[in-house]
């Protein structure tokens, strides 16, 4: 089975984010980018499929700053091949546009199972996995927490709220939105990363995507209707204040 895993770099949300001049995007000049957390899980699950079932794994990523480095990291993690999808679009945003650009290359790659992260912190226009699935005409399942292969079919664990989950079997090609890999993403040593730096990256042209009709009109800082009362002082002072509040509310004791 040939598995493709779609990787995306997203702004590091642990940093301070500022809205840029246009008001429709964050200022991307000074922030760092990192691999989308759920895509990292999808990558790990794909490598596990290779290790457990002998699947071939290709990592796919759209062109952009840091793409080559991210793909080389995927090599260090154990994928067989890496593909960078080249395009000329100045701004790529939103699942409909991305799915359109990836449909052609994915067909070229020839994978029959596409994994990607279930969501990113900026996919307010829709999630990639179901959008891509609809475009390719394949079934989808999201919030997947484990994938195995059995008799050429995909067995996926889907999570719902309240601790509920179900085991689905999908035959034929599918696109899955991965929430968690079967085990936490493994550590890759710096030496492996350095060795991977010399890997050749295959490039494919993006397929044409439909014109973007809907986008973000503006970004704003959420108006907080409330904010916590911040307790001052060091840990001891804070603990004392907290215990005071708990005592007041009758929350200490049985």
């Amino acid at each position: 089975m040939h598995v493709a895993v779609v990787l995306r770099l997203i702004p590091d949300i642990s940093e301070d984010l500022e809205i840029d001049g246009s008001g429709t995007d964050i200022d991307r000049e000074w922030i760092g980018f990192k691999l989308n957390e759920f895509d990292d899980q999808a990558l790990e699950e794909a490598v596990l499929l290779k290790e457990r079932h002998g699947a071939k794994v290709t990592a796919v990523m759209l062109n952009g700053e840091g793409a080559d480095r991210a793909l080389q990291t995927a090599v260090a993690r154990g994928v067989d091949e890496v593909v960078r999808v080249d395009h000329d679009d100045e701004r790529v945003f939103g699942a409909p546009q991305i799915a359109g650009m990836l449909a052609g290359p994915l067909a070229e790659v020839g994978a029959t199972l596409v994994l990607t992260g279930v969501q990113t912190p900026e996919d307010v226009l829709g999630q990639l996995a179901p959008t891509l699935a609809a475009k390719l005409g394949w079934p989808t399942a999201n919030a997947v927490s484990g994938v195995i292969l059995r008799d050429g079919e995909v067995i996926a664990q889907q999570e719902y709220s309240g601790g509920l989950s179900a085991t689905l079997r999908i035959s034929g090609p599918a696109v899955l939105g991965v929430q968690a890999a079967s085990q936490p993403p493994r550590y890759v040593s710096g030496t492996k990363l350095r060795q991977a730096q010399s890997t050749a990256i295959r490039s494919l042209p993006a397929s044409a995507s439909d014109a973007v009709k809907t986008g973000i009109s503006s970004l704003g800082v959420p108006s907080r209707s409330s904010h916590a009362e911040m307790l001052a002082g060091d840990a001891d002072a804070v603990a004392a204040s907290v215990l005071g509040v708990l005592r007041e509310r009758g929350l200490l004791g049985a």
Partner: protein, 648 residues
């Protein structure tokens, strides 16, 4: 050819043959091992061997054992002449040492040192049986007792032979006081001349048997060190202490995961261990209850090497013979390597094995997070590089950017000093002192990355190289005379480790710089009546880089009296943060090394301040004082605080 001569030859040949047969399984792994390039600088190497053996420097750091060893050692050297005499005359009739003094001064020395050896063995036995030092725990006691017995047998048979010979002559000899005394006792007991002559013959053969027995027993015993110690000392590491060996780019794998990958010098180390336990007694990991004893590590590696030689080894080296937790317990403080009398390199073997483990990715989650942060952000805290210089915000004066303008001193701040809130206070204070003294200094701001010292010691060569190359690239853009840092780990990386990339920087610790400023009168201190303090030598400043005096001079200059702890200077006891351990889980510890150390300080009885010179020490010891509830008994202060208080 007389029958006696023939028998002698046969016995000696058989004895030596048996000894060689026993020794061969120990020699074979060394011959088959990868090369080790320790053949350089022969004069320096030889000089070191003679100094170490002659002066017994390291051995005498443990006084009782050092003295008894000197006695036995010197005795063996002298009594070697007796063995030469016995075997020589037995194998080559007519051979004698008489022409060079074999009957006079050599005889005298033999007699005296026979006694010295006996007393030495007696002291050793007393220590083993009654004093029972803790460092012997885990060592092979049976082996030791057998050696005592064999040594006494060799000495006793030798003395008996001399005594019987003198008795056969009917009188003593002024050159053999001890043997003469025994001879007189024999004569007094009525031993006749003929009986004495026969006794001498018997004693001679027993002596030969004892010596051959000793030689046959030795290969399998820790006493083989009498043959391996001098070579092991000769082939010791002469590269800078604080510089780990680089990975061989030609080798397919990093580090050591199989016995076969240890080179012959590493294997010689394993054969030279006397199981004395000095390393165990100074190891902070062992003291804290973690599953690491450098002594046991070497013994286990040795046993594994021999098991493999015999085809009896089962399971992997790491995860089997050596547990993963053992490898991760090490703080790389170097106390073990610095105290070992035969210069065994325990710590570097741990780092070699860590390198192999890191390649497989089988490392604990906390360490994985730290290394991931180092890869992504260039610091172990996971904070953006931009926040590195946040501590400069409220200083009240600007700090030069060394990338934009030339500076005299480039201050390489370091991760902890930049990001940890407790350490930031020291950093700000030091900046104030430098500013007041008019030092022309600058920092790299967000271009600085972790210097990589502990990354290397964790075994992550790849990330180390990435960090180091990045730092070197930035430093090359700057114009400076010297580099200064407040963090001893950073100091070691810049001063010693970056030599691997052919970079030589003049690197100072801030205590050195402050000391200089005071000497040059650029920083004036008012020596007030300070209290009694004690000072903790950081491992990477003291043991690794010889920086013992500047901090002490600063303490005195700020008007405090120093009450040294027992484990000071080279013997300093590690706080437990090094070797990446500050990035690891410590729940398996029974007592943190830092708490052990604070207790040592408290035991001095009259010190109210525990002075440190490293940001990690400040963090570790402040936490330790809190955990022990000793906040009102002792305060942890950085040296810069003492200096700042004393400066106007």
């Amino acid at each position: 050819m007389t029958a006696k001569l023939l028998v002698m030859w046969v016995v000696v040949a058989a004895g030596l043959g048996a000894a060689a047969y026993r020794a061969s399984p120990y020699v074979k792994p060394l011959l088959a091992a990868p090369a080790s390039n320790r053949w350089d600088r022969p004069r320096e190497r030889l000089a070191g061997v003679l100094a170490d053996l002659g002066l017994h420097r390291r051995l005498l750091r443990f006084r009782y054992s050092g003295v008894l060893h000197a006695m036995i050692f010197s005795g063996f050297l002298v009594l070697f002449s007796a063995i030469v005499q016995s075997f020589g005359s037995g194998l080559f009739p007519g051979f004698t040492l008489a022409p060079i003094g074999g009957q006079t001064w050599i005889a005298f020395l033999q007699d005296v040192f026979a006694l010295v050896v006996t007393v030495g063995v007696g002291l050793a036995a007393w220590q083993r049986q009654f004093i029972r030092p803790k460092r012997f725990q885990g060592s092979n006691a049976a082996d030791a007792w057998i050696i005592y017995a064999l040594v006494l047998a060799v000495v006793a048979t030798m003395l008996l032979e001399f005594a019987f010979r003198l008795a056969a002559l009917g009188h003593g000899s002024p050159w053999r006081p001890v043997s003469s005394a025994i001879a007189r006792a024999m004569l007094a007991l009525g031993v006749g001349e003929d009986a004495a002559a026969a006794g001498a013959e018997v004693a001679y053969w027993l002596h030969v048997a004892a010596v051959l027995g000793f030689l046959i027993y030795i290969p399998g015993s820790k006493h083989r060190h009498i043959f391996t110690a001098a070579p092991n000392l000769y082939f010791r590491n002469l590269r800078p202490k604080g510089q780990l060996a680089a990975i061989d780019p030609a080798s397919p794998s990093a580090g050591v995961s199989e016995m076969a990958q240890f080179d012959w010098k590493a294997k010689l180390d394993l054969l030279s261990c006397t199981e004395c336990g000095r390393c165990q007694s100074v190891c902070p990991a062992y003291a804290s209850g973690l599953p690491l004893s450098p002594k046991t590590l070497i013994m286990d590696l040795r046993d594994r090497m021999m098991a493999e030689e015999r085809g009896q080894a089962a399971g992997p080296l790491i995860g089997g013979a050596i547990a993963d937790e053992t490898l991760w317990s090490c703080t790389t403080c170097r106390a073990c390597m610095d105290i070992c009398p035969v210069h065994i390199e325990q710590m570097t073997k741990i780092v070699d094995m860590r390198r192999a483990v890191v390649e497989t990715g089988a490392i604990e989650p906390m360490l994985q997070t730290a290394l991931g942060n180092l890869q992504q952000y260039g610091n172990s805290f996971g904070k953006p590089a931009r926040q590195r210089a946040r501590w400069t915000k409220d200083l009240g004066f600007p700090i030069k950017n060394a990338l934009k303008e030339p500076v005299d001193v480039l201050w390489f701040v370091g991760d902890f000093a930049s990001y940890d809130p407790r350490a930031q206070k020291i950093t700000a204070r030091v900046a104030g002192l430098l500013h007041a003294a008019g030092v022309d200094f600058g920092i790299l701001f967000e271009a600085e990355r972790n210097a990589g010292n502990d990354v290397r010691r964790v075994g992550e060569e790849g990330v180390f190289e990435t960090l180091a190359r990045s730092n070197i690239e930035q430093l090359e853009k700057c114009s400076f005379r010297r580099i200064m840092t407040t963090d001893p780990h950073t100091l070691n990386a810049l001063r010693q480790e970056y030599g691997v990339f052919d970079c030589r920087y003049e690197v100072l610790h801030y205590t050195q710089l402050l000391d200089e400023l005071i000497r040059e009168n650029r920083l004036k201190l008012e020596k007030a009546d300070g209290d009694r303090v004690t000072y903790h030598d950081p491992c990477y400043l003291g043991r690794y880089n010889g920086g013992f005096d500047a901090p002490r001079s600063l303490i005195a200059a700020s008007g405090h009296a120093l009450h040294e702890m027992g484990r000071c200077r080279e013997n300093s006891f590690c706080c437990g943060a090094g070797g990446g351990r500050i990035w690891m889980d410590d729940s398996a510890m029974k007592e943190r090394p830092s708490e052990n150390r604070i207790k040592e300080a408290l035991a001095l009885g009259d010190v109210g301040t525990f002075v440190v010179a490293c940001p990690k020490d400040l963090v570790m010891y402040s936490a330790a004082v809190q955990n022990l509830g000793a906040q009102d008994k002792i305060a942890v202060r950085d040296i810069s605080e003492l200096v700042a208080l004393a400066s106007s």
